[in-house]
Amino acid sequence: MDSKVKIKAEGVNFFYARSQALKDINLDIYENQVTAIIGPSGCGKSTFIRLLNRMNELLPHTNITGRISLDGRDIFEDSVDAVQIRKRVGMVFQKPNPFPKSIFENISYGIKVNGIKDKTFIEEKVEASLKKAALWQEVRDRLSDSALKLSGGQQQRLCIARCLAVESEVILFDEPCASLDPISTAKIEELITELKKDYTIVIVTHNMQQAARVSDYTAFFLMGELIEFGRTQDIFTAPKDKRTEDYITGRFG
């Protein structure tokens, strides 16, 4: 394993009220690599990545034990501000969730809430982010239109651009193509491959072909446990665990 560990999960347990959603998860996420998390519905994969940007703590009656570190520093330490973590670890959600504002405001929002007021800087950043998300050509003439007028695929790329504008280091994708058509899906996958030059990427997906296409590492979750983790190539061609093999070959899930 060649590259640097960006995020490290050690003995992570997570509880919703009394039910345990994650059991003793140990997982390394490597810098500038794409890590896919696969598994059947309800296996805890979304729960897991929502821990990485401390999103789960918005829910009542949850509890976590164990340690998750970002660049070696525990993100749940008292002195660490969740807002700072979320700035560094961005997220693209399952359903496109643009703000009911203009296309421009959607992208500039994240820059502005982080305290930047310089107008030209913001304008340049918006353009650069839209270009990076392969959306600029389609929206350059209507930046002041409502983002809700865009198609589903365009909205999802807008959400990616919004995330890029805050200059995070890690981007979490929570089933980003679940509600998109194949062409939009192909565009997003292409984008993910492009983005890993600058970002560390974690993607949760139901679609095994997608995991095989875009990821360098794959983690297979089942009923809250991490069953197997390794290079995507190895997981898909020579899984060590019988359950991983069954899932990948479509025997359940």
Partner: protein, 282 residues
Amino acid sequence: MKKNLIQDSGFFILFLCMLTTLIFLGLIIYFISVRGLKVISWEFLTQGPRMGMTQGGIAPAILGTVYLTLGAVLFALPLGLACAIYLCEYSPKGFTVNLIKMGINNLAGVPSVVFGLFGLAVFVKFFGFGVSILSGSLTLGIVILPLIISASQEALLAVPQSIREASLSLGATKWATIKNIVLPTALPGILTGIILSIGRAAGETAPILFTAAAFYTRGYPRSIFSEVMALPYHIYALMTEGTHPDQQTAIAYGSSLILLFLVLLISAAAIFIRQRQKNIHG
């Protein structure tokens, strides 16, 4: 075939109910207009009453109602909105909050004359504001407070969790999320609440009966500590007191028409603003 028949007759009954409602609305506007229109003139709108309420206009009452309604909204809106934000966004969910919400709902059910007596005891007497615009506005404000709180709460709850999460995931603080994303999105709903409460405040008689309203004032109010005439109370007084019932009834209908028109006007303005907001925010 039989299924279709049942469905069609069902739709027809629903249609009839809708039509009945519409007919009542039409009748109200028709009767008030027919009886009220004949007294309406420039003089009626711009001058005070003369000759023991049988002649002249209702200008002081119009102005009084505008002052009282404005005062009530100015008092209740910030308080109610802040309360709704706290309950929806900040308060820990559980027993206490449910108790508070129940309390607010009950407040909405309190008969308005009880609010009138409360206003008399607290604002007029205890705080010593006297029978005045201030006392009346505060009392009316409390009457519309539950309306504003529940409309705002509903509007806030209708904001999808997904866009709050989107904002937080970009490193926005909770307050920044509320201020920049949640409130603007909820604004049309909040405005609806304000529209409803304006109609309510302008039309209420009982809460201002002991706290603000005067049967007759010479000229216009000088300050927020002055008594005022107000349209609903003026109508009530015209119909129950005085010595020239015929002339007074006509003026009462004219005043009702103006009150109706005033509420419609304010509502139209609020709807206009809401529509513009909707266009901007999708």
